[in-house]
Each structure stands twice: as C-alpha cells, then as structure tokens.
Symmetry: C2
Subunit: 240 residues, 2 copies
C-alpha cells in the first residue's frame, strides 16, 4: 500500500504486460467483455452451479464428459468442433443453465486467468456485472489489478473501456499511480455517452458484427444485466 | 496494405508488445517524450552533426572517448556517473551542440530503437518535432507503427498522448484497424485543451517534477519547438 493508506488500483492492458504487476499481493479482475466474462456472469446469474474455464477444446470435451457438463466455446467465431454451445450469453437462459455446470473454453480470458493464479483472489468482470465487481473491490480493501484479456495480447477497446468504467466508479477508494488506469478512465469518459457507437470503431466489433452478433455486443456493453460476482476457487467460477 | 489501399497506422503502447506488430514492413516512430526523443530532435535542430543512441553508460563513455563526442544520459533522474551531460533539451543550445556528436544513453527509448532495427525506417518523434514527423509519414505512403518507449515496459501517458496526437493529424491518410490507435487518439482529444494539466496526473510527471523539471516537461509537450526529422541510419540519428 502507498503512503495514502489506500490500496492501489492498477490497470493491465494486455496479458503480455501482466508480469510487470504485483499479482501476488492483489485481487485480479479478469476482463474479457466480448464475450467470455459477460457470458460467465450471465450463466451464474441464471443459476449455473459453476463455470469451469479451460484452455483447450480437448480439455473442454474431456471435462464435460467426465462431469456431465455443458461444453462450450468458439474458435474463429464458430462453435468449436466437438463442443455443443457457443460464447453468446443468450445461449444460457435460466431454463437451460440452472444447476448445470458450464465448461467453457476461451482463448484470451482463460490465458489471463491462468497467469493470475497466484493472486489473493481472482474474479471476473464485464459490464453485465459491473456493480457487483465494484462493490466487492471496495469492500475488500486490497490492492486491485484490472486485467484486460485483450485479443491475442493486442490491447482492445472493450476491455479497456470496462477497466475505465470501474476506475471511474471506485477511484475515490483507491490510490491510483498507474497511467494505464488514467488512460482507461479518460477513454471511458469519452465513450460513456454512447459506448455502443464508440465500439463500432473497434477491431473486435467488426469481427463479431460480421457474424451478426450486434445483439450480443449491445448486451455485453450494458451495465448490470447479470449482476453477480464470479469468484474463482479451486479451478471453478462460482457465484460469490 | 488493407483493402482500402491506404497504408496502415498502428500504435504500440509498450516495447513488450512490439513483437505483435509487423515491424519489418513498417516505418517505426520511436516515441520517448520525457525526454529522450524531445532532446534528440532539439540537439539536431540546434545543429548537432548526429546523435548516437546507446544502451549502457559504459558504451556511452567508450564511444564518446573514441570519437570525441559529448556523453549524456541519466539514471534515476541524475547524470549518470562517468557522463558529462543530462537528458534535458535545454542542455543543448546551438552555441553548445552545433557540429558536435551527442552520445546519448537512455533506457526506454534505446531499447525500443534496437527492437525496431528491422523496420523499413526508424525515426524519432515527440511534440517538439510533431509536424516534421507527420509530414514525413504522409509523404512516404508506407505502413506506420507509432512505438511508445513507455517506462520499463509500463504504458505511460506522455508517449500515448503523442501517438494520439499523430493519429489525429494524419488518420485521413491511413487505414486504422488498431484499437490502441483509437484509444490513443481519444486520450489525446480529452487532453489536448490543456495537455500540461492533464499530464500532472502522470506517474512520470511526478517523478520528474520531484527533480524540479517542470520547464522541461512543458517544453516536451509543446509542438514544433525543434521541428526537424531525426532519421536512424547506420546506428546514428541525423537530421532528415
């Protein structure tokens, strides 16, 4: 902690920069707005027993088989071969996911999660659960790293915007000595009047819009549609 | 080049991300606003024959001795032991630097420069030579990477702001499919009304202001005070 006696709040814009941060002494929020962390909180909000994040399609298939879970994941915007569901939050309504285990493979989000495994606590964040994340971070009084999953290590707008939104909400409770946090908050302040329009410039928007997923994107950019806190414990995400 | 037939314009926010970019097919602009690239253009603008950027103090001493150059560089905000001058642009007025060789060691800027050695061309940029940089990039019609030197690989405000200023000036001539470029431009647009005040939040501002260098910072954030283009050729920066 700094001289101000407040815990620190930092933003890491890419997994390729996470080694520069003191993960071990921080709570890490994994951010993969389009769409992994939006889908995770949605499934838990709708009553999923747990979400198991895995790195590979093979692991997803094997774990799904072993525990009778719902296997999900996409590669290049389509359901991966061998899996049954995709990455869209709309695939996980209560009547489908309640009391089920979702085994989810995502490239960027899962990578970040495994890299942050020594953190005090890992949680996942995105606009649909922003209030739950902010309330939790304030309540804990620990150092925080907002970890953007990015896109193949390239900084992206949507994760940076979410990090900025969190900074703007909770900065009074933290000591901010991190230029990425200042930049993310400024970006969010520029975009917040109409985040959806702002995101139309983003490289990922173009990728997803090509698959007709505008509805997903709008949901993933809207606050508090699935306001639950996913906590990572023993390899699983459960509702906190 | 993309379908638009315009060359691409990308921003790399940290040397730790440069491997994600196609350096070989691009012009790379090395950006180290506080203060290496501001000092480099200032020395060349004031008539220095060349600037030789080196990584270590030892190399700086040895090359300086061998060629009779002026050795300069700081470590932790003070002139490094064995060197004669510091990093401030105000140390290099015409009456001192004209026709001289400046051998300059900086940690962040030099690192980025060596990493980009396979680029089509390396130039250095900062606010004091922003117009020269922009005119050059437009004239070349090549892909461009704006490479922020950052601070020990951590993203910083001042280099990101300069990248954003360049994007805002030349975007019409390029195809932009890079979220870092969009974010940098948005950041610049937020700050441009009063960049100096905005920068007071920055971590590096606090480091330098502690050494009483507000005057340096103000100069380094002001456009076109030393409007020359430093071109990297055969290990040296010369006025283009």
């Amino acid at each position: 902690m700094s001289e101000s006696n407040k815990p620190s709040l930092e933003v890491c814009l890419s997994p390729a920069l996470l080694h520069l941060y003191d993960v071990k002494n921080s709570i890490v929020v994994i951010i993969d707005v389009l769409r992994a962390t939006s889908t995770i909180c949605t499934a838990l909000y709708n009553g999923a027993a747990r979400v198991i994040p895995v790195a590979s399609v093979e692991e997803c298939v094997n774990i799904g088989k072993a525990i009778g879970g719902i296997t999900a994941g996409e590669r290049d915007g389509r359901i991966a071969e061998g899996l049954v569901h995709g990455n869209s939050p709309f695939e996980y309504p209560r009547e489908f996911i309640e009391n089920q285990t979702l085994v989810l493979t995502t490239t960027n989000g899962t990578k970040m999660l495994h890299m942050a495994k020594d953190a005090i606590q890992i949680v996942t964040g995105s606009f649909p659960n922003i209030s739950a994340v902010c309330d939790y971070l304030i309540s804990q009084g620990q150092n925080v790293i907002l970890g953007c999953a990015a896109w193949k290590d390239r900084v992206n707008l949507e994760d940076t915007l979410f990090a900025g939104a969190v900074v703007s909400r909770i900065s009074a409770n933290f000591d901010i000595n991190c230029d990425s946090a200042i930049a993310a908050e400024a970006l969010y302040n520029t975009a917040k009047g109409d985040i959806y329009s702002f995101m139309k410039q983003a490289s990922h928007y173009k990728r997803l819009a090509n698959f007709g997923l505008e509805k997903d994107i709008e949901y993933c950019l809207t606050p508090d549609g699935a306001n639950v806190l996913p906590l990572f414990k023993n390899g699983e995400l459960i509702a906190g």
